[in-house]
């Protein structure tokens, strides 16, 4: 039987690393920087355009081609014939206008921070997963776990989407022009979800925070998801946000329903059993 030797981790230098964690301090002057993009990002010109024909390309080749074009200063890229490939348009941490002329497969445009993406077809599961910033606009329908763990930006689908939309959402805005499936907003922690049509079962189940607006009918609310009160700021926000993408809700923004967390599942300490009793 093999035995573990503690010398190996010492040889790797793991015990010499200074792990300062949250005690680390950086000093920064507010007058120091006036940059509008990340320090290491590519400086692109949105008037410079390029087209990629992806018909014979692998997803990796497509992503590298997009990166090389950004590196050369191209700020508006069109990808033709994406052929529903998976994992395309991912990891873009840059200002960019990116258009796909057709549908994408799974995990399209995931892990992006900044670009404005327009997809003229459909998308598969987990579109824009972990998106940090930017806009993603899908002209047709989307699959399940649309915008999973999204942290920021606007993710818009003009059509309907599958189940578990915005699961583990940590920020940003998800807009669905049509209907959304079951368990939408599951374990939502922050951000906003706007559903113009109907919502399936267990909407907002176990949500910790955030807001869900629904224009149509809700089949059933999930645990700890409760109706909220619409105010004037909500209506103004919804109207301006939906106008940005030319999306209409059947009865107008004023008639949308708002759902928030009941905040009964928040505690993790010794009081948790008591909390559970109240919530269930």
């Amino acid at each position: 039987m093999a035995t573990l030797k503690d010398t190996k981790s010492h040889d790797m230098g793991l015990h010499e690393e200074s792990l300062k964690g949250r005690t680390q301090q950086r000093f920064f002057s507010v007058d120091e920087s006036s940059n509008l993009t990340y320090f290491n990002s590519f400086e692109v010109d949105t008037d410079k355009t390029a087209t990629i024909d992806a018909l014979e390309m692998t997803p990796r080749e497509i992503n590298i081609a997009i990166r090389e074009l950004m590196e050369s200063g191209v700020g508006s890229i069109t990808v033709e014939n994406p052929m529903s490939r998976h994992g395309v348009g991912v990891g873009i941490l840059n200002r960019l206008n990116l258009t796909f002329t057709d549908s994408l497969g799974y995990f399209g445009c995931g892990l992006i921070d900044g670009p404005n993406v327009h997809i003229k077809g459909r998308v598969g599961w987990s579109c824009a997963e972990n998106m940090m910033a930017g806009t993603v606009l899908i002209e047709m329908n989307a699959g399940s776990t649309f915008g999973a763990a999204i942290r920021g930006g606007d993710l818009v689908c003009r059509g309907s989407v599958g189940a578990r939309t915005g699961i583990d959402q940590k920020g940003g805005t998800i807009i669905v022009g049509g209907n959304t499936g079951a368990f939408s907003g599951f374990m939502m922690q922050r951000g906003r979800m706007i559903v113009c049509g109907d919502a399936g079962r267990n909407l907002g189940d176990s949500m910790y925070d955030g807001v869900i607006y629904v224009g149509g009918e809700v089949e059933e609310l999930g645990i700890d998801c409760v109706p909220g009160e619409m105010n004037e700021l909500d209506v103004r926000y919804l109207s301006s946000k939906l106008d940005l993408y030319g999306i209409k809700t059947p009865n107008g923004a004023e008639k949308m329903h708002k759902y928030v967390s009941g905040k009964m599942l928040w505690n993790y300490d010794k009081l948790e059993p008591h909390e559970k009793k109240v919530a269930l």
């Binding site: 507010v30 320090f39 206008n97 951000g191 301006s240 905040k263 928040w266």
Partner: protein, 127 residues
């Protein structure tokens, strides 16, 4: 709790009865769900969103001014830590204006050469 902090926590969105029932505070000391009022946008933020090609605050809608200890601060998700607001900046009374200040400071910090992500990028970037 400092006077500065106490001054800003008296907002309707905090569920006081729930806090009293559990005997402790849970959650944020500011309204995390407050949607931004673009009437309060600063010139710097306006320039930033135009540069990015956005028509509203985009991801900055989720940025609010909070507190680190007894000091006003804004949370930087890229480093998982708080950026404290300098004492020299006078904070307005309403959250909408304070949030705009927090957003501007956060952008200036994140886009700075001095941001920790610049070092991490150099150390770990794969391609």
């Amino acid at each position: 709790m400092s006077n500065t902090e106490e001054k800003f926590i008296e907002i309707d969105s905090l569920d006081k009865s729930h806090e009293e029932m559990t005997g402790q505070h849970i959650g944020y000391r500011y309204d995390v769900n407050l949607v931004p009022d673009l009437d309060f946008i600063t010139p710097f933020l306006q320039e930033y969103i135009e540069k990015m090609g956005w028509k509203d605050l985009n991801w900055l809608e989720d940025v609010h001014m909070g507190y680190e200890g007894d000091q006003a601060a804004v949370f930087d998700r890229n480093v998982n830590g708080w950026v404290t607001i300098p004492d020299t900046i006078e904070l307005p009374n309403n959250q909408q204006e304070r949030d705009m200040i927090a957003r501007e400071l956060l952008i200036k910090f994140q886009m700075s050469e001095n941001h920790p992500m610049v070092d991490l990028n150099a150390a770990y970037r794969k391609f």
